[in-house]
Point group: C2
Amino acid sequence: MRRWNGWGDDTIDYPLSARALAFLEEAVGAAVPPRDVSLAEALAAVPASRLAGAAREPAIHVAADDRLRHARGQSLPDWVALRGGRLSAFPDGVAYPVTSAEVARLLAYAAEVDARLIPYGGGTSVVGHINPEPGPRPVLTVNMRRMNRLLRLDAISQLATFGAGVAGPELEAQLRARGFTLGHYPQSFEYSTLGGWVVTRSSGQQSLGYGRIESLFAGGTLLAPAGETVLPPFPASAAGPDLRQLVLGSEGRLGILTDVTVRVSPLPEHEEFHAFFFPGFIEGTTAARRIVQARLPLSLLRLSTPTETRTTLALAGHERLIGLLETMLGVRGVGDEKCLMLCGFTGRPATMRDARHAVIDITKEHGGVNAGRRFGEQWIEGRFRTPYLRNTLWERGYAVDTLETATTWELVPRLLADIESALYSALEDGERVHVFTHLSHVYPHGASIYTTYLFRLAADPDVTLARWAALKGAASRAIISGGGTISHQHGVGRDHASYLAAEKGEVGLAALADVIARFDPDGRLNPGVLIETGWREIA
Amino acid sequence: MRRWNGWGDDTIDYPLSARALAFLEEAVGAAVPPRDVSLAEALAAVPASRLAGAAREPAIHVAADDRLRHARGQSLPDWVALRGGRLSAFPDGVAYPVTSAEVARLLAYAAEVDARLIPYGGGTSVVGHINPEPGPRPVLTVNMRRMNRLLRLDAISQLATFGAGVAGPELEAQLRARGFTLGHYPQSFEYSTLGGWVVTRSSGQQSLGYGRIESLFAGGTLLAPAGETVLPPFPASAAGPDLRQLVLGSEGRLGILTDVTVRVSPLPEHEEFHAFFFPGFIEGTTAARRIVQARLPLSLLRLSTPTETRTTLALAGHERLIGLLETMLGVRGVGDEKCLMLCGFTGRPATMRDARHAVIDITKEHGGVNAGRRFGEQWIEGRFRTPYLRNTLWERGYAVDTLETATTWELVPRLLADIESALYSALEDGERVHVFTHLSHVYPHGASIYTTYLFRLAADPDVTLARWAALKGAASRAIISGGGTISHQHGVGRDHASYLAAEKGEVGLAALADVIARFDPDGRLNPGVLIETGWREIA
């Protein structure tokens, strides 16, 4: 069963070795886990619903369990609220529609009872996309997970239409049975949904090969309070601004996507992942940039800083293997400042062979050592297990959060340093922070910067939240002033909404608010997300 | 000097052989050229300006010559109006700003005198983007051609910032001198500008390799009546809807782009173009689809129907060479229904060798014969000369126009047939039409359909225009009802505006109108383009 106050399936754990714990203690100090509220306590705190759960189709579930499980996403503040018993608002009901017609009925019902409406995919947001706001109007959460079927496969055009609530594994299973793949693997893949990927501009780990969701999203149907909009799956068009690009990143504010047509690929003939180690981050960054600027057809390229590489190896277990690796690397001049680069090759065997040779040539010029396929394959096998580490860390008294941005290659080194130093110096109460970073996605014209920060949980949830706010605020300000976007892959939600004007401009943000008002004149859908409540009055 | 009533430089001609003329006579009948008005007659018909050309910076030119040369673009109705002396409106003045500050002053001046404002790039629109509307308010055309400099090259990030008025050849010359290329080659390349490409969602002939302008456009600055918007050149972002995608396709209605940052590539190490001939269009289409769906790294792929192949060979001259080719093809089973496919290979030599072999393997499976590089190289050398043929044809009494769309592979064959048959049967006065088509751009998930139609000019310009309207209307209705977009690469302008709601939907179109109203509250910029005047009142 899925955890109500943590990540993932409760039969899966990510154990930490004694060496890993010693590493953490060394980094930020020994920690004591706070007392979490129990499920029974949390359920007891759910107030009465303001919606009638009476007989209607689709049913509106008002049980405390449904409402608690849809109250929060997976951000660190969400965890603090869930585990610390600090939930300020709950949906008044949860519906699980099966058809577009049922979604339309829910929109009509919300208008009838003047309820707010929150479209809900996998509930994996880490920036506050699906949290109800306290307020006088009742809140209905629309969980899309039952709209999860392959509705049409146009194999000639390599286009597949799904119910928007389909989650990653269900989507891939249905495509693979027919010889296709979408190739979209965000870390939330186990639970996050196609519709959620679209409205948050999700990026998968192999987006270098398959493309971000922006290029995979061919079309679909959006049901909005103002009416239905069908987005046709043209391969390209010069017929004015592309409405798909307004739906991408709309974060539930324009309507509810009921079906989504995606561009799929035949299953790859060949796939392999290689690890490389570089003597330092500058060498690794230069090699990464040269590889992607050579337009080599890789499916994945990520590069960790020395601290992230050290942390990854310390937390991974496999002590003997890593010892052997470090000896081997040392002989070849790669020592304490070593940086791990992972490269994925997915496609035609001949093309991949050529690409691999070209990558190896470039890495060698920058002192890179090819550590072969073993580390790469291990990473790819364990890639959806990583979020489970959050559970273990919390239970050991450690908070972990991530933040991310993207910028041009010219600005990457400085922005990365600014973000890390903002985090290191953000806490004024003497608490230490462990910070590490990787370039998670590379483009010919820039890269994303993905930073993890780890610190101790306080006994008092409010103190933990204050630490988080100080860290997150400092890093976000560094991102904006350093020329980065406030998000490369997590979206805006509530946590980033106040930073949006910096990159959209006042006129641009006002235009987006106008678009929202056109699709949803009564402000019924997901208010406060993407654009702050009250922002229109300010502008 | 540039022709005032035709295509291109008046020292360049595209002669037609006797065989070519015989081919045309056979197709649609012998023709008599209409009498065109002279430049002196056209200048005499320019009315007095409603704007003062007095001393101000930048100067506003009110001479008849400036105003005549900015009155129309390059569509067939534009030519009919220019050559037939049927111009209904002229700009009242033309300004040629050099700096962003001058553009800002022009926006302020337009507000002051309540003028309408038309941003003007190369004047190569074929759908009515830059034509002034008759009306009580004066019209100021802002010709951007003097804002044509490379402002910044970030070689590390492969990003180049230009003045938005830079034309194709100037842009490439400035990049090539520094080892880079944009690789964007629309047929209008000689005159069309970077800013024009962006706001019309232009597609270059080698977009298969370099990407459409949508993926080359990294950011820039838009000056609008409501204020300035800076679009940062992030490589990717999940921070809400992408405002660049609202500027792309905005066709001058949101403001004036003053500078544009584009994603550039190093000059390719290797480039070659190959011609293939297929025994029929089905075989060619299947091969084209399989090549692009194999994700082979081509820079160009276009496929002509049998009629287009026949027409191209007839108009090309080189009778002996073509005779030899036809004999060679006949021996290999490629006869009267032969279809020409051109493939471009641009990039690393090893990758290109691999791609070429893979392409040859696929074409062979569908009866394709590789005719080598000669035809391909000839096409690429002459590719910007083709529009000059329009001048020659007009002078021989023939009108020629093109229209285009894109759709999914599944729908391509039917839609292509529908468009051609709509054109063949559109004229009720017994006039014949010669129609031919190619797939100009292919994608894994669909293709563009580019149709040329040729018919006789009437002695009376109004009759010619009526013929055009009947043909264009029939084809546009076929596109919409057959599942195509109203434009893959020419844009909306005035000629396609009434078809836009069919693909954007009522809510979507209203949202776009809202965005326009936000950037340009007084409706000063390019009214009637993209979204029809009066449309908001209807919705």
